[in-house]
């Protein structure tokens, strides 16, 4: 069973190597790439079903790389939270690669596109699975180096500049992450996240002084927020998202961003939640690092919702609207996480709020993936994505427009689509946050979410009215929509509807994931720390 934990990672890496070797045989390379992504979905499904969801599931499993016992070697852990994120990655991944085959020109697909794509998937998978802090850094780098190349993929001045800026900023982020990881190692004497959780829960028993953990974890929070594109680290998002090939942008929005969110949840709720480290910085005193996370992440989330919402309303290109919208939507994920951090550890609110954030992450991955791919299909057909040059697409191509319509309605949050539950649960968590801790900050979070919802309606309406309704423009009249692309979009739209209609099992999955995120002791047990007690 533990072999299943590493299977998705092996599927992605094997496909990357295979497609690289098949660079001179484009057709076979494409077939191998699609087959590899299907294999990835298969391994993820098998692992998730066997370990987390199935009748005989244990809830979590660990794989010790190279059979080195736990605190010394690298441990891969598949628990509910990782399983939920992997499921998102698998869904978005297979949709993006199927779309890529019909969208990216044959020349551009040759040689490097497919290997890079699967390395992106491998990087995200590794980050979701790893139970080792330094290994998390390595998977981040795998993901980032691929991202730099993808942002610069088309080699235009715009793409090169975006990639260079993205690179410089992330190198600085990686340096900060190394500083934090090194500091945590020096403080706690371990890099294994389970071991770290265990040691921080009883610092005296292990003879460590956990005081520096607050500052070091704050550094990590900044790095993860940079990956997630939260305000004030959002400025790279629009340029990078519009420069990268659109199927990859769907991956960036659906998967890479979620890695940042996942890392915040994993670090703070699984590793640091039990730590008895008093926080004492000017203007803020709390009993654990979670008390630090709540106001800081809350402020970032609120600012993201506002900045992303207003930014999206003012853009005049489809891709840019959705890129800014992504910033706002990550705010919708961050605010429930902040509510969970502020909640008392004993009550149910913490689990409910984390589940809300996860449901929103799933919704955002599906709906935004659908919309980015739709924007790509529209641009491919009309050679433009300026809202001013579009119009009348609904009459020209009803099926494609229907898929976009579903995506936009889901973004707005209309039942029975996935976005309804995402937004409903996020607002529900914010309301409960106000009820459990009345005060200006929790009220501000709720008001910001409501404002964000209104702004979403505004820009979604603007996209629909400007791009799809009305009279056909000259660009739209001559447009020919590629049916293979539309098939992928329709499949994604159906997925958005299905997630909303059959929401009950998905919510139970999210609840399982949230419970796993909060269960530090269970995480420590699964990792099975058999050595290292004497340190």
């Amino acid at each position: 069973m533990s072999g299943l934990v590493i299977a998705p990672l092996l599927a992605a890496v094997t496909t990357a190597v295979l497609t690289l070797a098949l660079g001179r045989r484009p057709r076979i390379q494409r077939a191998a790439s699609v087959a590899g992504s299907v294999a990835y979905v298969g391994t993820v499904s098998a692992a998730v079903w066997t370990v987390v969801l199935g009748p005989a599931a244990t809830g979590a499993a660990a794989y010790q790389v190279g059979d080195w016992p736990a605190p010394f070697g690298i441990t891969l852990v598949l628990d509910g939270l990782s399983a939920f994120m992997l499921t998102i990655a698998a869904g978005v991944g297979v949709a993006s690669i199927l779309f890529s085959v019909r969208y990216v020109t044959a020349e551009n697909q040759r040689v490097y596109y497919h290997p890079l794509f699967h390395m992106l998937l491998a990087g995200a998978t590794g980050a979701f699975l790893t139970g080792d802090l330094f290994n998390l850094f390595v998977w981040f780098e795998v993901m980032l180096i691929v991202s730099y190349v993808f942002v610069a993929f088309y080699g235009t001045d715009h793409a090169t500049a975006a990639s260079f800026r993205y690179l410089v900023m992330n190198v600085f982020g990686s340096a900060l992450m190394l500083v934090a990881v090194g500091g945590l190692y020096a403080t706690t004497g371990t890099l294994n996240m389970a071991d770290m959780a265990r040691r921080l829960a009883a610092p005296d028993a292990y003879g460590i002084d956990p005081a520096p953990v607050v500052g070091l974890s704050a550094l990590l929070l900044a790095v993860f927020a940079l990956k997630a594109g939260l305000v004030p680290f959002q400025f790279w998002v629009p340029a990078a998202y519009t420069a990268a090939p659109s199927p990859v942008t769907a991956m960036f929005a659906g998967v890479t961003k979620k890695v940042g969110v996942y890392a915040i949840v994993r670090l703070y709720f699984t590793v640091l939640a039990a730590a008895s480290v008093p926080v004492d910085v000017p203007g803020l005193t709390a009993a654990s690092p979670l008390g630090f996370l709540a106001p800081v992440l809350g402020a970032m989330g609120v600012a993201s919702v506002v900045v992303g919402g207003f930014g999206a309303v003012g853009r005049d290109r489809l891709g840019a609207v959705f890129a800014y919208s992504s910033i706002g939507q990550v705010g919708f994920i961050a605010v429930p996480v902040a509510v969970a951090a502020a909640a008392p550890p004993a009550g149910t609110l913490r689990g409910v709020a984390i589940a809300a954030a996860l449901v929103f992450a799933l919704h955002h991955a599906l709906a935004k993936g659908l919309l980015f791919l739709s924007a790509a299909a529209v641009e491919d057909a009309t050679k433009t994505d300026r809202l001013a040059d579009l119009g009348g697409f609904a009459g020209h191509s009803p099926v494609l427009s229907g898929a976009v319509f579903v995506g936009l309605l889901s973004l707005i949050g209309l039942p029975p689509l996935s976005g309804f539950f995402g937004k409903f649960l996020a607002l529900d968590a914010a309301v409960r946050g106000v009820a459990s801790a009345p005060g200006p900050s929790s009220t501000l979070a709720l008001v910001a979410l409501l404002l964000g919802a209104v702004l979403t309606i505004l820009y979604a309406t603007r996209v629909w009215v400007g791009g799809f309704w009305g009279r056909e423009t000259t660009a739209v009249e001559v447009a020919t929509v590629e049916s293979g692309q539309v098939a992928v979009l329709v499949a994604l739209a159906v997925a958005v509807v299905l997630v909303g209609v059959g929401f009950d099992p998905i919510y139970r999955f999210a609840e399982t994931a949230a419970a796993a995120a909060l269960d530090s002791e269970g995480y420590v047990d699964v990792v099975g720390l058999s050595g290292g007690d004497g340190a």
Partner: protein, 114 residues
């Protein structure tokens, strides 16, 4: 010893940050490299460094003698990994800066068209 290391790390970070904020692309790439080096020195320091002494060397002085205390190997493994990653990233940054020069015909970031 730890004071010297702290000064070295701080100095490297200062120089790296200064270079990152320059207009010239090559200086920015150098800044990328220097900031990375700063974290490597920092990582090594995190393993705890003692003053050099005869019984600290990892090579045994006498055959069959007692094994001396050795430096923490974990941070060294970390640093090796980080150096390799940094090498790749810096090389990519150099290539990108050349490509940006080709596109914009200027090494000055403020003169970029986008």
């Amino acid at each position: 010893m730890s004071v010297a290391l702290a000064v070295a790390v701080g100095g490297l970070f200062a120089v790296g940050t200064f270079l990152l904020l320059q207009r010239d692309l090559v200086r920015v790439v150098l800044g990328v490299a220097v900031v990375s080096q700063a974290t490597f020195v920092y990582l090594i320091a995190m393993g705890g460094i003692d003053e050099g002494a005869g019984d600290l060397v990892p090579v045994l002085e006498v055959h069959g003698g007692g094994v001396p205390e050795v430096a923490d190997p974990v941070v060294q493994a970390l640093v090796l990994t980080a150096i390799v990653i940094s090498l790749g990233t810096t090389a990519l940054a150099l290539v990108l800066s050349y490509r940006a020069y080709e596109e914009n015909e200027s090494m000055d970031v403020t003169e970029w068209k986008t």
